[in-house]
């Protein structure tokens, strides 16, 4: 059964159609990617799923329940975690405290939340920086903190908005390993928006391509990179992967 079903979603901003009639499904345990040029509507789709915007049209169901129009905190409580493309750390708090905020969603006590947070920080190789203020982190670390915080809410589905952008290839590979591990060990389902094709090729089992708010192609990564429509609008004719 599909964990997330997006049906005919449409969203306009003052008449400008950011997303129109987008539909896709994500099976339980899958890692899928959404790619497309800048302004294609990827982040808008994320924000609609995550409850930041309610869609003008269409339905979204998660675990069989309709969730469109719910508030972001309700979406998170339902089991969808998300990261922000432009990272939003709680700058004044320590790295550990940042992650603990997420942990409190399923843990009542500070001790319980701290334990969840420490485990996740270890997984993401951030535990050495647990007591530093989040404001002192470098961009790659902030990206990892975004992921750690979202994971602390124990999501079933994780929405990753360009977490690989700005990462060096080795750092990118570490993240890829983390996500693969989570998908394998905890059955976490992941939907990623990504420009870094290296990560998309390595992680995604299924890719959707968005252009001008419309899904123009879908398939396995290998199929996508050969799709003429995708090459024309996004990857470019001479792309070497």
């Amino acid at each position: 059964m599909s964990l997330l079903v997006v049906q005919n979603i449409g969203k306009s901003f003052r008449g400008l159609k950011a997303v129109s009639d987008a539909s896709f499904e994500i099976p339980e345990g899958a890692i899928n990617a959404l790619i497309g040029p800048n302004g294609a509507g990827k982040t808008t789709i994320f924000n609609v799923i995550a409850g930041v915007f309610s869609p003008d049209a269409g339905k979204i169901s998660f675990q069989g329940k309709e969730i469109q129009g719910l508030r972001p905190d309700q979406i998170c409580a339902a089991g969808i975690g998300r990261t922000f493309q432009i990272v939003k750390p709680f700058a004044g708090l320590s790295v550990l405290d940042n992650v603990m905020v997420g942990g409190f969603l399923r843990e009542r006590t500070a001790a319980g939340s701290r334990e969840v947070a420490r485990t996740i920080l270890k997984k993401l190789d951030l535990h050495g920086k647990a007591n530093l203020p989040a404001s002192s982190l470098t961009l790659p670390d902030r990206k990892r903190l975004e992921v750690a915080r979202a994971l602390a809410t124990r999501p079933r589905l994780l929405l990753l908005d360009e977490v690989m952008a700005g990462l060096r290839p080795t750092e990118c590979d570490l993240m890829i390993e983390v996500f693969r591990g989570l998908a394998r060990s905890e059955g976490l389902t992941i939907l990623l928006i990504e420009h870094v094709m290296r990560a998309v090729m390595a992680l995604a089992q299924h890719v959707g391509v968005l252009h001008h708010g419309v899904v123009i192609a879908r398939g396995t990564p290998a199929e996508i990179v050969r799709n003429p429509a995708v090459l024309e609008c996004y990857l470019g004719e001479e792309t070497e992967i």
Binding site: R71, D73, R82, F84, L93, T109, A110, R149, A150
Partner: protein, 320 residues
């Protein structure tokens, strides 16, 4: 952490023993410091923890003072019963302001303006309320200075000193506990980045309302204390915006969002400003408004040299 507790223990013993060595004037200054330490702590819950700037906390002091004072004056209802009604009234006001602001997305400076507006409206309302004496004020019967009438909260200055010492200590303990609990984490998350907080499953509306309600309730207690300590209430004074500013100066100078900032800020401000006025008076200079000028200078100095407040600077030096 151990040193922190040690210092706190020494401070507690010193404050408990203080009246044995202090004259009536020193006792009144200490009472004032603790009063501002307490109200500063209450304000800090809203601004320091949850990031919601209130510039109208005199509203809660005034409403609570008038509710408890009025019930005592007219109906002889003791402050222990009046206290609950005062807290209830203030929480209702706080929730109304919070609902109007948070429901309709008013935040930051505009939220602060709303809090000022409510304090001002209420002041004007009380100016026209005959039940509380209108602008002429309301006067509670002056306390018997020689007996401790705990039931009616009437007694010598010493009783008020210990009462406000207890309140300040209780507020500190409550805030220390809150900061380490889910509420503290959630409030700070909202303060730092509301959108990210919401994405982590925090119902920001509800938690902001809780911060406002708690801050209002705590401030209400200080309002009841105010009524029974000073015995006379004038809308023009108690709801005045300068009263709200007095409440927030302590935590700002001491360190917003810290536990000891409000206490330290209250002590520094009260001691220095009273010392300054007294010093000048001893020299034969009576300068009206010098206190306000002084507040301004201290605020400027802290903003320029210690933008996080005095406490973070000191705690770093002491390695607490």
């Amino acid at each position: 952490m151990r040193r922190e507790f040690l210092l706190l223990g020494i401070l507690a013993i010193a404050l408990i023993a203080f009246p044995a060595f202090a004259g009536p004037y020193a006792l009144s200054v200490a009472t004032l410091i603790l009063y501002f330490a307490y109200t500063g702590q209450a304000w800090n819950v809203m601004m320091g923890f949850a990031g919601q700037l209130s510039l109208g906390h005199s509203l809660y002091v005034g409403v609570a003072a008038y509710v408890a004072g009025g019930l005592f004056y007219h109906l002889g209802l003791g402050p222990w019963a009046g206290l609950w009604l005062a807290v209830l009234a203030c929480v209702a006001f706080g929730l109304l302001i919070g609902f109007l602001a948070f429901r309709f997305g008013i935040s930051g400076v505009y939220f602060a303006l709303l809090t000022i507006a409510f304090a001002e409206f209420t002041r004007i309302g009380f100016d026209h309320l005959d039940w509380t004496g209108g602008p002429g004020g309301m006067f509670l019967k002056v306390a018997q200075r020689d007996t401790w009438d705990l039931l009616n909260f009437r007694g010598p200055p010493l009783m008020y000193y210990y009462a406000i010492l207890f309140l300040a200590a209780a507020a500190l303990a409550l805030c220390a506990w809150l900061l380490k609990s889910k509420a503290g984490y959630y409030w700070q998350a909202i303060r730092e980045n509301e959108e990210a907080a919401q994405a982590l499953g925090i119902n920001t509306f509800r938690w902001k309302m809780l911060a406002v309600a708690l801050s209002a309730a705590m401030t209400a207690v200080s309002g009841v204390f105010f009524a029974f300590y000073y015995n006379n209430l004038f809308p023009e004074q108690i709801f005045n915006i300068s009263r709200s500013i007095e409440i927030i100066l302590g935590p700002i100078i001491g360190g917003i969002g810290t536990l000891f900032g409000p206490i330290l800020g209250a002590a520094v401000l009260t001691l220095l400003s009273d010392g300054l006025t007294d010093g000048l008076a001893a020299l034969g200079w009576e300068i009206p408004g010098i206190k306000q000028v002084f507040y301004g200078v201290v605020l400027l100095a802290v903003v320029i040299f210690l933008p996080n407040g005095i406490w973070p600077f000191i705690s770093k030096k002491l390695k607490l």
